[in-house]
């Protein structure tokens, strides 16, 4: 067992590589990924070609068998997608040889989609991270994976959100491996993330535009709504006003609670710390920040804290999907409406309505920068669902960046 684990780790290290490319369509990104993969070992070539060759729509009759087969093969490869900017995608690929690790149950492989738009905001300050199998729990006969997704809505500048995208999942994994208590490990990882960005802000070492102008970046921060999916549970940790919503048996269930300064318990906490909430274009801490918790924002501590609120929900047969999104969506779309939209997509009722050239279609509503896709192994229906939600938010005059992750939780598809 120890030997297997050692080999596994070595293999992961050896085969990890970062591929940077620009992509605006799923097909193009798949092709490029396949091309990149071709430069690695033969086994990988076969696997990626198989994936990129998959052309049939998800819900066509007879596709289920092909889909199942594809998933079995695909399960041997994992990919992680980072959104650097709306036009640039960073793909981190890991390949695992089947001779080293037992393949995960194909049905355990997450089906997800991501969409992120700049909207009317001048710059993209959101970041999204999706890490299938970011933490593995292996036994002699099987391997189960925990899957991670996070949405980070930055303010003041983008570098805190970008740093969360790069680091937070690593901290969560480290803390959970150290102590398998979700409440504690999430709290510790968020605290560590906050400490890292506070140090970065204070040193002016963030190396982005704002650093050129001033000696510190104290007014930069980010929300963080994070979900870890295990075979048995859905864990959500939230800090700020992004949100996680579960759709179960067709009904919307909020798995996080927004940290607004006028939430009674948050208002009490802020005042007890000597701060004030002033209504200036809505409730704001010291009249400045519209959320009561965030990663970063050095100048507003101790009123604005980084401690997450954690929920642990047992998975159930009636679970449909999970949505993680920034407030650019939730400010203009209710939980119930978002669930209705996604259900339509996942049931195949919206196929064909979402343009194959989403960028062109989106131009009319001011979304000049659209990134669609959840990585090398996106689920088409989930992608369409997340894209549709961003379009809906823009149509309803959302003035913010909008980022959405949709994860299909059904087990019988």
């Amino acid at each position: 067992m120890a030997e297997i684990c050692y080999e596994n780790e070595t293999m992961m290290i050896e085969t990890t590589a970062t591929v940077v490319k620009k992509a605006t369509t799923t097909t193009r990104r798949r092709e490029r990924s396949s091309s990149q993969a071709a430069r690695r070992r033969r086994m990988e070539i076969r696997r990626f070609k198989f994936v990129s060759g998959e052309q049939e729509p998800v819900f066509v009759d007879g596709d289920l068998q092909r889909r199942r087969r594809r998933e079995s093969t695909v399960a041997a490869s994992t990919s992680t997608v980072f959104y650097e900017t709306a036009k640039e995608v960073v793909v981190l690929c890991e390949s695992l040889s089947s001779t080293v690790v037992a393949l995960p149950d194909p049905e355990a492989y997450p089906k997800y989609g991501v969409a992120s738009v700049c909207g009317r905001r001048r710059e993209m300050e959101d970041a999204v991270a999706v890490h299938p199998f970011f933490s593995r729990h292996q036994t002699e006969y099987s391997s189960t994976g925990f899957h991670y997704c996070g949405v980070y809505d930055g303010h003041g500048c983008s570098h805190v959100a970008m740093k969360c995208r790069e680091r937070l999942h690593e901290l969560v994994r480290e803390e959970f491996e150290a102590d398998a208590d979700w409440e504690k490990s999430m709290a510790r990882s968020f605290t560590r993330m906050d400490m890292e960005v506070v140090a970065l802000n204070a040193d002016g070492a963030a190396k982005c535009r704002c650093e050129l102008q001033r000696p510190d970046c104290d007014a930069v921060g980010s929300t963080a709504v994070v979900s870890v999916l295990t075979p048995e549970k859905i864990i959500v940790a939230n800090c700020g006003d992004s949100r996680a919503v579960l759709c179960r048996n067709g009904k919307a269930i909020a798995l996080s609670s927004d940290h607004k300064p006028d939430r009674p318990d948050e208002l009490d906490r802020i005042q007890a710390a000597g701060g004030r909430v002033i209504y200036w274009d809505g409730p704001r801490v010291l009249g400045v920040l519209a959320m009561s918790r965030a990663i970063g924002d050095n100048y507003l501590k101790p009123y604005v804290i980084s401690r997450p609120e954690v929920t642990v929900t047992d998975r159930a047969n009636g679970d449909d999907f999970l949505i993680l999104a920034s407030d650019g969506l939730w400010d203009v779309v209710s939980n119930e409406t978002a669930c209705s939209v996604v259900r339509m997509c996942l049931r195949g009722k919206v196929n064909g309505q979402v343009s194959s050239s989403p960028e062109r279609e989106m131009t009319g509503v001011g979304a000049g920068n659209v990134v669609v896709g959840g990585g090398d192994l996106p689920d088409k229906a989930c992608e369409e669902a997340s894209l549709l939600l961003t379009r809906l938010a823009l149509a309803r005059q959302s003035s913010d960046n909008v980022s959405v992750v949709v994860v299909d939780l059904r087990r019988d598809t």
């Binding site: 930055g154 102008q213 000696p215 004030r276 809505g282 704001r284 009249g287 920040l289």
Partner: protein, 164 residues
């Protein structure tokens, strides 16, 4: 007439900075570069330069300021009413923008600190502004004082860094 019906409020913020007056004044007086020390300013573009003084620094100059995201405003248009390098006084009015500070006018005066005239500087920023509808005078003063204090704290950090 409408203006006279609006309630107004005024306040002053005083900050002592551990830096010589010429250094502090050189940063404060740069009307075209508020982002050097103003915490919530992302960038600044000069709209027009006044007739006198250097380009963009004369009386009547107007700047368009872009503010950082997350702040309760996106942009502000400001005019330089007065800039006196002898008495170290600067007067700025806000003449537009999508914020709630209407009829805002501030006067910033810089003097050498009596404690240590060569190494310490006292900055006094006084302002007058309309109290926005739906907001109390107390909250308005708290908010604006807070912004000014953050800016002057940032100025103190900047001058400290420049003296290293």
């Amino acid at each position: 007439m409408e203006s006279s019906k609006q309630k107004r409020c005024r306040s002053s913020v005083v900050e002592t900075i551990e830096a010589p007056l010429p250094l502090v004044w050189s940063i404060l007086r740069s009307f075209d570069k508020p982002q050097a020390y103003q915490r919530f300013v992302k960038s600044c573009t000069m709209r027009s330069g006044g007739g006198g003084g250097k380009g963009g620094e004369g009386k009547g100059s107007v700047r368009d300021v872009t503010l950082v995201s997350g702040f309760p405003a996106d942009f502000s248009t400001e005019r330089l009413e007065e800039l006196d390098d002898e008495s170290h006084v600067m007067v700025v009015s806000i003449i537009g923008g999508n914020h709630r500070l209407v009829n805002y006018k501030s006067k910033t005066k810089v003097v050498a600190s009596p404690e240590d005239m060569a190494k310490k500087t006292v900055v006094v920023e006084s302002y007058v502004v309309d109290v926005p509808e739906g907001t109390s005078e107390e909250d308005t003063i708290f908010f604006v004082d807070n912004i000014i204090r953050y800016n002057l704290t940032s100025l103190a950090k900047l001058t400290k860094k420049m003296m290293k």
